[in-house]
Symmetry: D2
Subunit: 217 residues, 4 copies
Amino acid sequence: MKITLLQNTSLKTCAFAIRTCWQSHEKSDEGGQSDKDLIAKVGNKFKHGSTLEHLNYTFYIEGISRALLQELARHRIASLSVKSTRYTLKELKDENEFLVSSSKDSTRANKYLVFTDNPLVDKMSILALENLRLILQEKIPNDLAKYCLPESYKTSLTWTINARSLQNFLELRSSKSALWEIRALSFKIYNALPEDHKYLFEEKLTRDIMFEKNLED
Amino acid sequence: MKITLLQNTSLKTCAFAIRTCWQSHEKSDEGGQSDKDLIAKVGNKFKHGSTLEHLNYTFYIEGISRALLQELARHRIASLSVKSTRYTLKELKDENEFLVSSSKDSTRANKYLVFTDNPLVDKMSILALENLRLILQEKIPNDLAKYCLPESYKTSLTWTINARSLQNFLELRSSKSALWEIRALSFKIYNALPEDHKYLFEEKLTRDIMFEKNLED
Amino acid sequence: MKITLLQNTSLKTCAFAIRTCWQSHEKSDEGGQSDKDLIAKVGNKFKHGSTLEHLNYTFYIEGISRALLQELARHRIASLSVKSTRYTLKELKDENEFLVSSSKDSTRANKYLVFTDNPLVDKMSILALENLRLILQEKIPNDLAKYCLPESYKTSLTWTINARSLQNFLELRSSKSALWEIRALSFKIYNALPEDHKYLFEEKLTRDIMFEKNLED
Amino acid sequence: MKITLLQNTSLKTCAFAIRTCWQSHEKSDEGGQSDKDLIAKVGNKFKHGSTLEHLNYTFYIEGISRALLQELARHRIASLSVKSTRYTLKELKDENEFLVSSSKDSTRANKYLVFTDNPLVDKMSILALENLRLILQEKIPNDLAKYCLPESYKTSLTWTINARSLQNFLELRSSKSALWEIRALSFKIYNALPEDHKYLFEEKLTRDIMFEKNLED
């Protein structure tokens, strides 16, 4: 998976919003340490969560499975625009050869599938992918063909979420009880945040050095 | 698919809420014609959509595909509790025989899959299902095995939604451009509504006699 | 202030929703102790907050000030239908006499105003109320007259809120740092909950025996 | 009232999100006419309203009445940080002289009050303001004193709202049946939008040349 931060609101804007309550705009240091401390104090410590909603982030998330998408979409205080299987299965239809050769090179299948590193599961995903490719070549409409799509199929989305909702997401999804792929996503989302915003989310993460190290590989 | 209405707020409560604005509670006829007319006038005609939010419906939806679930979950002003593949794949693991016999009887596979009525697609779904069953019997954890699940796999959910959000759902999803299965769901949801609530949603539906007739079969 | 619970979803429905995830409906005891324990475990302890959203409550809240309404409306995951000053100021216009007699009986003014028990503030509220009454008798339209309304003016609303959002409300608004009137409201809302639902909210309240005792008087 | 746009998401980001669905990013003209047409087609014409949620605007709104704030806060898909009467009444306490002299100059009172241009209403607002000032000088706590505040009292807020919710706001609040002050706000918000974003909102406004002309004066 690949995460790209497309845009975000500045800390300065969030601090300005908070300073509205006390009319203390003249104390701002334009997103500097004083503003940062204020945001952490009011938004996190005092639990005035609504002040964190002024911070919006838009991420482009590529190469997650549709299995993960099922979980991601449950976070409803966020806006998702997702690659549509109804409109984009042509990508697979246009593949003219078997996606996996006899030499067991799964590079081409990996373009379409998230692998689990369990050989049996991945093999079954590839078989399902091949079957789907064949069906598409029979000119069966996408709205029918997509029913035999394996949930490992890769998708992409543009995701806009505010800091309050993102804190909730990171807390729940970095947990050791979360599905491995959404857990990986949560750390990668965190890593894609602007450096000076990370302090707002740091303590929401369930840290796990071995797990994070694997993500880097 | 099967839709069961588990509970709903009464029209009387919604009318009471509206009458709060004008303090005209004494004019209520306890959910009768006068209250019904008021709700339609204020909620629909005058576009005071928030008054319709007092009406909540909880449905138990059984036997839709996870392909449909992907779309359903995008309606974010609603609450979903969904059958979890992480916790319930045991149902499939416990099947000890091939789900489809040589005699092409797909009854047992139909317990797990939504069929599209396209023989080729359904065949591929069944193959993927069989592969998943075999994987589970190898004691591969659900969190890995679920990646080769076909999106035709059946799921169930309890869905709570208010009348305002449901109007939006029915308008978008009964459209002829909607995915066939969610379109069918939208008509079945409408049919499961209490009779005296249907008038609030009637005009949001894109009617299609042939399509609705097929749903009854 | 007076709080009336108009309707609520049953615990049984919430437990049914939760049991959807594990398909364990057969273990339900129809809203009994087993179901109650499950809701507390999944909704509170496991932080699957969305399961608590199936529980909706509709309250009729009478006699709070518009000062309090300003704060109440910030809780945005809730539906409000509020007595409209644009439509209902006629109630005051129809009063033909001074609302406070020379004998300092403020009973009639209390029909329209929330008193703070600070004599000076209450006196100024009454003066503002009298001035508003005079203005209305000059046939000045409500949309202009309402601008000199004191924030102590009483209002009423029908409020629908789910258990997740209500937990957040009670936690923030029963705090000792909350405005005294919304603090009183939070305890009264809690008291108006069905007895068998209170356990879900108990630990969100900042208890204060002296304060609660005063509410009873 | 004064409206300042503090920040907004670019059309380019919104178009990028939409192009995710069709994977047509290569057709973007970086927020140019092609992207603008796409946003209008998908977001407005096709009613895929969620795509407009990627566009967020943060406004600083100064000098509206608390009467208007009561209505503004009902638009719940938005984030508000409001000047707090609990924390900022000191501004009034620090005024050492009567705010209105015998010569009927209301300039100083206008710093604190929204005037309606009805002399009687404005006079009563000023009287209430004076009474509040006197109370504050008696060292009565803000949490009590604020109860006699007239609703004409000026407030300020930082308001973050997405394009979908803003369309709803402008449609409802530019209507001729809306309160005059929120109607004025809706046109001023529209005017404060970036020029190249206005086309998304244009048709939601109930135009009224005379009314808009007055706003300019």
